[in-house]
Symmetry: C2
Subunit: 330 residues, 2 copies
């Protein structure tokens, strides 16, 4: 399912990160960074919720609006019951829709918002996501204090919050089209190799997008997945070539960009979490777009729909990817 848009723009974004991302190569592009993982809150989960609130405050300031001016807030995150979004929304007070597609949540939110803006059902909306390394580790794997070793295919959940302000004001980045993914389950059960779980979903959505828009892959100056990691990225390239005869040249993956993978060995195959793709895109990529170094970008957010309950029942992990086509406003 591909939507085309004529009047949808991302007028502003707000990005906030923790200390790991601050040490990374994209640090100058984040709006706000913290030196610790608590941000003045007593727990990681409450800290994660604050990241959303911060990112909303920042984007509102950038576009010169208050929360009372905004019609709709769409948000999601990795915590059970998307708790950091729920609690942030409670403080923010904008009419709220909760969404979930794991690390593809950012683009799910953007698509839902873009559809409503295009149809003038809302005049504006804010789409948020968050993730917190320690919160995610505790919930999905082991508390970080446990210090368990990980295989090199594991990724490192980013700590961050990201919000985008969408409206039909022709300013910023144009949302040109978007493709909703289908859930793909290739039978993979390895919770330390989400890149392998998600790569086929990314391939499926990219091909669906190209098919629906009748475009070649070269139409885009950059195809940006987020977040497959070092190994998932290679799997996607191989898979696209062997299955679809598509050569991913102008291609990168946000997991491989947010950290310095040479220096920071602890991040293993790269960054992950719903915040990773928008942190890289809203800061660094949008900057390149504004400088006209990139004109057309296809952002493909990929989500492993990983449930510890289902994995403990020996089920494989389904995945989804949603794609959104972004252009510079000329």
């Amino acid at each position: 399912m591909t939507f085309r848009y004529k009047n949808v723009y991302i007028n502003g974004t707000g990005t906030v990160t923790g200390p790991y991302e601050k040490k990374g190569p994209l640090s100058p592009y984040f709006d706000k960074t913290y030196n610790d993982l608590y941000f003045g809150k007593p727990t990681w989960e409450q800290a994660e919720s604050k990241l959303i609130e911060d990112s909303v405050d920042i984007v509102l300031a950038k576009v010169g609006k208050t929360r009372f001016d905004v019609d709709l807030h769409i948000s999601g995150d990795l915590l059970n019951q998307i708790a950091s979004s729920d609690y942030a929304a409670s403080n923010i007070g904008i009419p709220f829709f909760g969404v979930y597609s794991a690390c593809a949540t950012s683009v799910e939110g953007l698509i839902l918002g873009a559809n409503m803006i295009e149809a003038k059902q809302v005049k504006n909306c804010i789409c948020s996501v968050s993730s917190h390394n320690n919160g995610a580790e505790k919930q999905f794997r082991y508390p970080v204090e446990y210090g368990g070793p990980k295989p090199k295919t594991a990724t490192f959940t980013t700590t961050g919050g990201a919000s985008a302000y969408l409206s039909y004001d022709k300013k910023g980045i144009r949302v040109e089209s978007a493709t909703v993914g289908t859930v793909i389950d290739m039978g993979i059960k390895d919770v330390y190799h989400m890149g392998a779980v998600m790569a086929p979903a990314a391939a499926s959505t990219i091909c669906q997008h190209l098919n629906d828009t009748k475009r070649e892959i070269d139409y885009y100056d950059l195809v940006l997945t987020g977040d497959l990691g070092v190994y998932g990225k290679q799997i996607l390239k191989d898979y696209m070539k062997s299955e679809y005869h598509i050569n991913l040249k102008n291609y990168n993956d946000t997991a491989c960009m947010i950290f310095d993978l040479e220096k920071e060995k602890d991040v293993h195959a790269g960054g992950s979490g719903p915040a990773c793709a928008p942190l890289v895109t809203y800061g660094y990529i949008f900057d390149l777009m504004r400088k006209k170094e990139l004109k057309r970008v296809l952002l493909v957010a990929t989500g492993a729909l990983h449930s510890t309950t289902m994995v403990n029942q020996k089920l494989s992990i389904p995945a989804i990817a949603h794609a959104i086509s972004l252009e510079v406003v000329e």
Copy 2:
């Protein structure tokens, strides 16, 4: 935020329940009922996922479509990472959006779908939800085998799956308007009194809806909340009267309808779970509407955004309610 619709119809619905609901007074209105809680699956979570698949199969058969004819599937449930929706979507294979607003998820899905149908961005969509008593108890409270006693304000999660097929074909039930709720947190921490947690959110959304549509409450033949339970229902009535001077007369709550509260003492204050409101509405209420005994119904789905993690951190429970105005097609 209130949306108005001119061309959105629920052409068909599919409802499936477990044995408790089958024993209830609305049993004749469900499309399919099971006598056990597993439905041929090895676990409750996988069983819950099957409820969604069943309900989608049923609604597709009713409207004479296959899954390949459907543009979009929107679904959510109570399981962490909305796992039963994710796994069902993996088998169903329709482009998928995951949503979450606890027991308000059904109406969130309907609103998102209705907006896209109204704007002709999709030609049709299926909106699903599910809940499973034993799965929910295990995740949010204690495994049912534990046999822990509960206070009388507790509700009993319904076991069911419900799907609605929306399109712009003028058949069935018209979706006339809808109001997106804001998250309300009144500081309540009692996980056994979700009615008290959610009633203020219901009040807020009802008043917002009446305000935005410039309607009096009597415009509706029935205001139907789901699911506040016996005590929450009374709280809402009292609260509407004292805070907003609105007398809720033509009013009921789906929690108080799905079970025989006199006979089934174990259900305490009534039914709950995302499936409860649509199970009651898509079967019994739509039947009354088709018979013209009800012409205008405001369905207000209420969700307690209850996270065990946050409650264990001594935080109060935020809530949300989304409202949708339903009319008979003349």
